[in-house]
C-alpha cells in the first residue's frame, strides 16, 4: 500500500468521523479552558463555601449539578477544579513529552548503536503498566498532587520517546531528508527544517491525547487515595469523595465523572484530528 493511498483513506475516514464531533469537542475544550483560566466568569460562587444544612441536594435550578456532603455547589467546584485538574494533566504530560522528545530525538538522530539500545529500552518500558510504574514512584515520593503529577509524568516518558524515535527514523530514512543531506545541509539544519517540523504534528497529537489520559490517571491515583489534597476541587478527588455516597447521592460521582470522561473524550477527538492533520 502506498503512502498516497493510505493518505486518501485517512482523509476519507476523517470526513466520515465528521466535523460535528470535532466542533463539539473544540467548543467543549474552549469552555473548559475558560473554566481553567477564569472560573469566576462561569461560576461566580465560592467553591469552598459550605452550607451543611443544604448538603446532598439533588440537581435543581439553584444547583444544576446538585450539592455535596457539605452543601458545596458541585457545578461551581467542577468549574473551579478545571484549573487544577487540567493543570495537573498538562504538567504530567509536559514532563512526559519533553523528556520523551529529548530521548526520542537522541535515539532517532544519534549513532546507530545508541538508537538500537534506546529503541529497545523504550519498547520495553513503554508497555510497563503506567499505574504500576506510577505506584512505584508514589511509594518512594509519598502521596499528594505533586508526586502524583511527577509519577504519571515519569511513567509516560517511554511512550512519547518511542513514538518520536519511530517518527524521526521514518523521516530520516525518507527521501527528502536524504536529499537535503546530499545538498550539503548541516545536521542541525536538517533537523530544524525537516525532522522537527514533521515530527511536530504527531507529537502534538500524542500530547493532546496524553493530557486526556493523564487527567484520568491522576484521577485514578486520587481514587486510590494518593492524589490531591482537600478541599481543593480537583475532579479526581471530587469523584473519589462522592463515590462514598454513590447509592444515595449519585450526582456527586456521576457529574464530575462525566466531566472527566467528556474532557478526555474531547481531547482524544481533537488529538486524533491533529494526527490526520499531520499526515497531510
Amino acid at each position: 500500500m502506498t503512502e498516497t493511498l493510505a493518505r486518501q483513506r485517512r482523509s476519507m475516514r476523517s470526513l466520515e468521523s465528521g466535523w460535528i464531533s470535532v466542533t463539539i469537542s473544540a467548543l467543549f475544550l474552549a469552555f473548559i479552558s475558560v473554566a481553567a483560566l477564569a472560573p469566576s466568569l462561569l461560576a461566580p460562587g465560592d467553591p469552598l463555601a459550605i452550607a451543611p444544612a443544604s448538603g446532598f441536594t439533588p440537581p435543581s435550578l439553584a444547583h444544576i449539578f446538585g450539592t455535596d456532603e457539605s452543601g458545596r455547589d458541585i457545578y461551581t467546584r467542577v468549574v473551579h477544579g478545571a484549573g487544577s485538574s487540567v493543570g495537573i494533566g498538562l504538567a504530567a504530560t509536559a514532563i512526559g513529552v519533553v523528556t520523551g522528545a529529548v530521548l526520542g530525538f537522541a535515539a532517532g538522530l544519534g549513532p546507530r548503536w545508541l538508537d538500537a539500545a534506546l529503541a529497545r529500552v523504550f519498547e520495553v518500558l513503554f508497555a510497563l503498566p503506567t499505574l504500576v510504574v506510577a505506584l512505584l514512584f508514589v511509594a518512594v515520593l509519598g502521596g499528594g498532587a505533586w508526586s502524583a503529577t511527577l509519577a504519571i509524568g515519569l511513567a509516560t516518558i517511554p511512550g512519547y520517546a518511542r513514538m518520536i524515535r519511530a517518527r524521526v527514523r521514518g523521516i530520516a530514512a525518507s527521501g527528502y531528508a536524504e536529499w537535503a543531506r546530499l545538498d550539503g545541509a548541516g545536521a542541525f539544519s536538517v533537523f530544524a527544517k525537516h525532522i522537527a517540523p514533521n515530527s511536530l504534528w504527531p507529537l502534538i497529537s500524542a500530547a493532546t491525547l496524553g493530557v486526556g489520559q493523564s487527567i484520568v490517571w491522576v484521577a485514578a491515583l486520587g481514587f486510590l487515595g494518593l492524589g490531591a489534597e482537600p478541599p481543593a476541587p480537583e475532579w479526581g478527588a471530587m469523584l473519589d469523595a462522592g463515590r462514598v455516597y454513590l447509592a444515595s447521592a449519585w450526582w456527586m460521582t456521576v457529574l464530575p465523572g462525566l466531566t472527566i470522561v467528556a474532557t478526555a473524550t474531547a481531547l482524544t477527538v481533537i488529538g486524533r484530528r491533529f494526527a490526520q492533520g499531520g499526515s497531510r
Partner: protein, 335 residues
C-alpha cells in the same frame, strides 16, 4: 520468517528483552530508593515505622547498606535476578509466598478481560464494516463515538456505576469476589477492566480495516465470488488485526494497571491490591517484588504476541511498515 528458526530467533530476542526489562526495573527501583533519602527508612516502611533495632540491623545486612554504592547496586541486581525479595516488613511473610498467592487471581482476571476486550473490539469492527448505506453510516459513527468514550473511561468510575446498578439496585450480580464468589463474581470486574481496552483495540482495528477492505487482495477475493463475511474474515481482518496484535503487549500491561483499581473496587485478592497496599505502607520488598513480577509477565506476553504476529503475518510486511513509520493508531497510545 515464520520458520521454526525464525520463531526461535524471535523468542531469543525477547528473552534478551526480558533481561533488559528486569535490569531496568531493578535499576529504577534502586535509584528511586536512594533518591528517597534514607533507603533503610524507605525499606522499613517510612519515617513512622516502628522498626525494631533487630529489623534495622537485618535490613542493613540484607541490603548490604554498609557496602560501597556500586556493590550495593550489584547485589540488588543479583537479588532481583534470583527472585530473592526478602520478607515483607508489613506482613512478616516471604514476598515470594505473597506473590505466589496473589499472581494467579490477577492473571485470571486480566486474561479474561483481554479475551473479552478482543471479542468486543472485533464485534464492533465487524458490525461497523459490514453495515452499508445510510444505516451503516449511522452505526459506524455511533460505534466510533462509543469506542472513543470507552477508551478514556476511567475504570473506577465505570466499576462504581456497574456496582450501583447491577449489585446494589438490580441485585443481579455480586459486588465482590471472595473465595466463594466463583464465576459470577468475575463478571462485573472483567467487564470493567475490558471496556477501555476494547475501545482502544476497536479504534486500532477500525482504521486499517477500512483501508484493507478496498485493498487489491480483498477486491480480488470478492470478485472470485467469495461470500462477503468470508472475505472480511479471511483477508481483511487478518491484515487489519496486525497493528492491534502488536499492541497486545501494551494492552495486557494496561490491564495490569486497571487491575489495581478493579481489585480494590471489587475487593478481589490479587497483585494490584497487594502492590497498592504495599505502596501505602511503603513496604518496599513487596513493591519491588510485585513490579519485577509485572515486568516478567509483560515479557511473557510480548513473546506470545510476537509468535501470534508471525503466524498471522508470515512475511512480516506489516511489521516492517509499522517499524518504519509507525501508524497513527499505534503511536497515539503513549500512556
Amino acid at each position: 520468517m515464520s520458520t521454526p528458526k525464525g520463531i526461535a530467533v524471535a523468542v531469543l530476542n525477547k528473552l534478551g528483552a526480558a533481561v533488559l526489562v528486569v535490569w531496568l526495573t531493578a535499576t529504577v527501583v534502586f535509584l528511586a530508593l536512594r533518591a528517597s533519602g534514607d533507603p533503610l527508612e524507605a525499606i522499613l516502611g517510612g519515617p513512622g515505622s516502628q522498626a525494631s533495632p533487630e529489623a534495622v540491623a537485618q535490613a542493613r545486612a540484607d541490603y548490604g547498606l554498609d557496602q560501597p554504592f556500586f556493590v550495593q547496586y550489584l547485589s540488588q541486581l543479583w537479588r532481583v535476578a534470583t527472585l530473592q525479595f526478602g520478607d515483607s516488613y508489613a506482613r512478616k511473610q516471604p514476598v515470594t509466598d505473597l506473590l505466589a498467592a496473589n499472581v494467579p487471581p490477577t492473571l485470571v482476571l486480566a486474561t479474561l478481560a483481554f479475551v473479552l476486550a478482543w471479542v468486543l473490539a472485533l464485534a464492533a469492527t465487524l458490525a461497523a464494516s459490514t453495515a452499508r448505506g445510510r444505516l451503516g453510516r449511522a452505526i459506524r459513527s455511533t460505534l466510533t463515538g462509543i469506542e472513543t468514550v470507552s477508551s478514556v473511561m476511567p475504570q473506577f468510575f465505570l466499576g462504581a456505576v456497574l456496582i450501583l446498578v447491577f449489585a446494589s439496585q438490580l441485585q443481579w450480580l455480586p459486588a465482590t469476589g471472595g473465595a466463594s464468589g466463583g464465576i459470577r463474581a468475575l463478571i462485573l470486574p472483567v467487564i470493567t477492566l475490558a471496556v477501555p481496552i476494547a475501545g482502544y483495540l476497536a479504534h486500532v482495528l477500525h482504521g486499517p480495516l477500512a483501508e484493507a477492505d478496498t485493498a487489491p487482495f480483498a477486491t480480488t477475493a470478492r470478485s472470485r465470488g467469495a461470500a462477503e463475511s468470508w472475505v472480511l474474515l479471511r483477508h481483511t481482518l487478518r491484515h487489519a488485526a496486525l497493528p492491534a496484535i502488536s499492541l497486545s503487549g501494551w494492552a495486557y500491561g494496561s490491564l495490569l494497571s486497571g487491575a489495581v483499581v478493579v481489585e480494590v473496587l471489587f475487593a478481589r485478592q490479587g497483585l494490584g491490591r497487594l502492590l497498592l497496599e504495599a505502596t501505602t505502607v511503603r513496604d518496599m520488598p513487596v513493591v519491588i517484588g510485585s513490579i519485577t513480577i509485572v515486568a516478567l509477565l509483560y515479557i511473557v506476553v510480548l513473546i506470545i504476541t510476537d509468535i501470534v504476529e508471525r503466524i498471522v503475518d508470515p512475511r512480516g510486511t506489516a511489521r516492517r511498515e509499522l517499524g518504519r513509520s509507525g501508524s497513527d493508531a499505534t503511536t497515539e497510545v503513549v500512556a
